[in-house]
Amino acid sequence: MTLLALDWAFLIEKLVLIVIIVFASLGIALYTTFGERKVAAILQDRPGPNRAGPFGLLQPLADGLKLIMKEEIIPNASSKWLFIIGPGLAMTASLMTCAVIPWGTAVHLFGRIIELQVADVNIGILYVFAVVSMGVYGIMIGGWASNNKLSLMSALRAASQAISYEIAMGLALIALLMTTGSLSLKTIVADQVTGHYWNIVYQPLGFLIFFICAMAECNRTPFDLPEAENELNFGYHQEYSSMKLGFYLFAEYVNMIMSSAIMACMYFGGYDLPFFDESTVAPNIAAMIGVGTLLIKIVLFIFLFMWIRWTIPRFRYDQLMNLGWKKMIPLALFNMLLTGALILSKL
């Protein structure tokens, strides 16, 4: 007798996939912190961390261990539950994004066809947007619960920044969706694989706007005003210590990886390796090549993020708002109109 007609194999398959993706994301995030320091060092003519292990490769483990060993301090005057929930929320929100990213073509294993995507939601991009805007709650709650005026101030900055740039980001996306005609990330990538060009060819301006907004959403320099040390001491995580601080810091890197993955999927063909016909090799090998290609694209984007971070200083707050509202949004609207006009003229 069966109570529920569940496809248990399907459930296990998805669970395994989720575990792999979550741990891989965390692992990559761990090494992104290392990469950040190395890139910073190389751009500034320094060697960077090189003590722990060969080439300093064990440095992120040492950093993680250090964070865990630190004393957990919860300020007396804080709202304790919110203070604890904050970093968890930030981390959850940034990890949830990876559910809709298509990591590769399907793999044939144990007589099953396994899609390398946790959930092919037909509104994938809307889901990403919903989750990304959840991320601001983690920061906001953390900043509020710290009961520290500087934390609160920086949390407010983060919230206003995220809201301002989400509009331009959404408008840039609408233009992309007008050309693709689908909200599912899987369909968008598949169209780019079968089509002639990646979406970047059709939407260069849209990509530029999206990229800048993604940088603002991740609180990366030049948009790292929530962490402006010289004005706000340390930012919204000032009262945090130990792994709670680590969660906030890792969440930032996971966000960066996820936004890189989404940009790669939407504008740069996702798992599509250019000038290579995937159908000529076995499906499993093609899937592995796809995953590798996507990872390389993600790494390149992360490098770009870091390169920008270690090149330019951060904006002033009024410059940030001017750029967001007076330049990005009109530009995104113009891009939308242009795309619409081009599509109409083609018809």
Binding site: I42, L43, D45, P47, L208, W307, I308, W310, T311, L323
Partner: protein, 178 residues
């Protein structure tokens, strides 16, 4: 007001042009600059493996000198302690006994000789004050230590190894090892 030098440049207060207000071009220019720095040679000296070479006039850790027969030069006259502006040097004198002629050059010697490396400012005045060529500043510096006591260097730490019996150790003390 009259300018002191002809190097001053008037600040350009022209409003930014459209391209400048876009920031993008200047950001890309900046990124090119940082990109070039990726291929530059790093000036870093990777310390414990690599050491910076000091110039011969570097004033580092003190050594107590010996003469060519391996006897201590110091006669505990105390001129170095008097010259020392940081009052880092203390010593106790003793008389040379029969049969100690191979150890000490003159009739009087320093039984105890201590330099507090935390007080020392490495000015080299002790070196200049010494009439017996007994104290010199070498080309090394005091290594880190866990306690304050560890920085009080006594005769065992300071005395240069015997030239005749221990040449490699001497080179090490001088800080001129390869």
């Amino acid at each position: 007001m009259q300018a002191l030098t002809n190097k001053s440049i008037a600040v350009n207060r022209k409003p930014m042009t459209f391209l400048e207000r876009l920031y993008l071009i200047n950001i890309i220019k900046g990124m090119m600059i940082t990109f070039k720095h990726m291929f530059k040679k790093q000036p870093t000296i990777r310390y414990p493996e690599q050491k910076r070479e000091f110039s011969p006039v570097f004033r580092g850790l003190h050594v107590l000198n010996r003469d060519e027969q391996g006897r201590e030069n110091c006669t505990a006259c105390g001129l170095c302690a008097v010259a020392c502006p940081a009052e880092a040097i203390t010593m106790e004198a003793a008389e040379r006994q029969e049969g100690e002629e191979h150890l000490y050059k003159e009739e009087k010697y320093a039984a105890k000789y201590e330099i507090n490396m935390l007080r020392c400012i490495f000015c080299g005045l002790c070196e200049e004050a010494c009439p017996k060529d007994a104290i010199y500043l070498s080309e090394t510096f005091a290594p880190a230590n866990y306690t304050r006591k560890g920085f009080i260097y006594d005769k065992n730490d300071l005395l240069i190894p015997n030239t005749l019996t221990n040449a490699p150790a001497l080179a090490k003390a001088k800080g001129v090892e390869a």
